[in-house]
């Protein structure tokens, strides 16, 4: 019943992708990732401080999980920064996948649509399989798709806000107008019902981090999101009933007792 979830030719059985940041401790990160059933995890690169040992522990934990790695270019504000970070990521993580983040505004961490197109074009030409973190703007997403980005990752709301889907019309439009693109909602989801909502719309997957990592019980929340993503996908495949503005009785009217065809 469930069609395949495919990212640049690699099939994933889980439609949930989780981030690896902000967990209370590394052990909880590891448990949450395991319990979510996710098969891909996002991570990043930062300057190495030789006196710090935490980085090595993180890398070992991630490797032990044997998940597919989706490195990001978080924090980049220029095309050159994103290109360089992507190239460094490819060398270390041995993957052509890159979650392209190019920030245009520091207040809401909104992607810069113009620089995003420029960077995506150069990364694709350099052999990367680009997963751009983008807004829900239809024209931007069309341009990214036409460039060769087979996967698009529009936001639901600003990163880390937990606000849920701010513009359902825009997301529904993306799904309708880009039926062949792999669409993953990335950023802004706060609770499992948000994930279920976008999966019911027909999105292919969900990427989130804060909603799980900052929950009181990240492991339980990871499970909850996993169930919500599955439920939403099943509902989309099943096909929802049509909406109407009036009531229709579900119990048959025919044969109702106490009713007389004519007045006594």
């Amino acid at each position: 019943m469930q069609s395949e979830f495919n990212i640049y030719g690699q099939t994933l059985s889980s439609r949930l992708i989780l981030g690896s940041a902000l967990y209370p401790n590394p052990a909880l990160m590891q448990q949450a990732l395991q319990q979510s059933g996710c098969e891909a995890v996002t991570l990043s690169l930062r300057r190495q401080a030789p006196e710090q040992q935490g980085g090595e522990q993180f890398w070992q934990l991630i490797r032990d999980l044997k998940l597919k790695l989706l490195p990001n270019t978080a924090g980049c504000h220029s095309v050159q920064q994103a290109l360089t970070l992507a190239q460094m990521s490819r060398e270390i993580f041995q993957t052509n996948w890159i979650k392209l983040e190019l920030i245009g505004d520091d207040y809401n961490l909104q992607p810069d649509p113009i620089l995003l197109l420029q960077a995506a074009e150069q990364l694709l030409a350099d052999g990367f399989e680009v997963l751009p973190y983008c807004t829900d703007d239809l024209v931007l997403c069309k341009r990214l798709y036409e460039l060769g980005c087979k996967v698009l990752m529009p936001w639901a709301a600003p990163i880390g806000s937990g606000l849920g889907v701010l513009n359902p019309y825009a997301l529904r439009t993306l799904r309708e107008r880009l039926p062949d693109a792999t669409l993953i909602v990335d950023a802004g989801l706060g609770v499992p019902s948000h994930a279920c909502q976008v999966m019911e719309m027909g999105f292919d997957g969900v990427l989130l981090n804060s909603a799980v990592a900052l929950a009181k019980d990240p492991v339980l929340m990871a499970q909850a999101f996993s169930q919500a993503v599955s439920a939403g996908r099943s509902a989309f495949v099943a096909g929802a009933m049509p909406k109407q503005d009036f009531a229709s009785p579900s119990t048959p009217v025919l044969g109702m007792p106490f009713w007389l065809q004519e007045a006594p």
Binding site: T42, Q48, W59, N72, Q81, Q87, F93, I159
Partner: protein, 70 residues
């Protein structure tokens, strides 16, 4: 092979000033733990280019490693 230079030079290493006794990138790297990747003045330096990379005064060198990310 890059030309070796004994004189001191000042560079920016991971955002901080650093005085080096060698202009060879490969002489600096043993203090860092694998895995890492290198950028010089904002441009990626592939691992196979380390032996050929010569540093000069004022260079900005970034050496990065995996961390958590969303």
């Amino acid at each position: 092979m890059a030309e070796h230079m004994k004189t001191e030079l000042n560079i920016w290493l991971n955002g901080k000033t650093e005085t080096l006794n060698s202009n060879q990138l490969s002489h600096l790297l043993p203090r860092f733990k694998a895995p890492f990747a290198v950028a010089l003045n904002g441009c990626f330096i592939a691992a196979n280019q380390y032996p050929n990379t010569v540093l000069k005064a004022g260079d900005q060198l970034d050496i990065v490693s995996p961390i958590a990310g969303g």
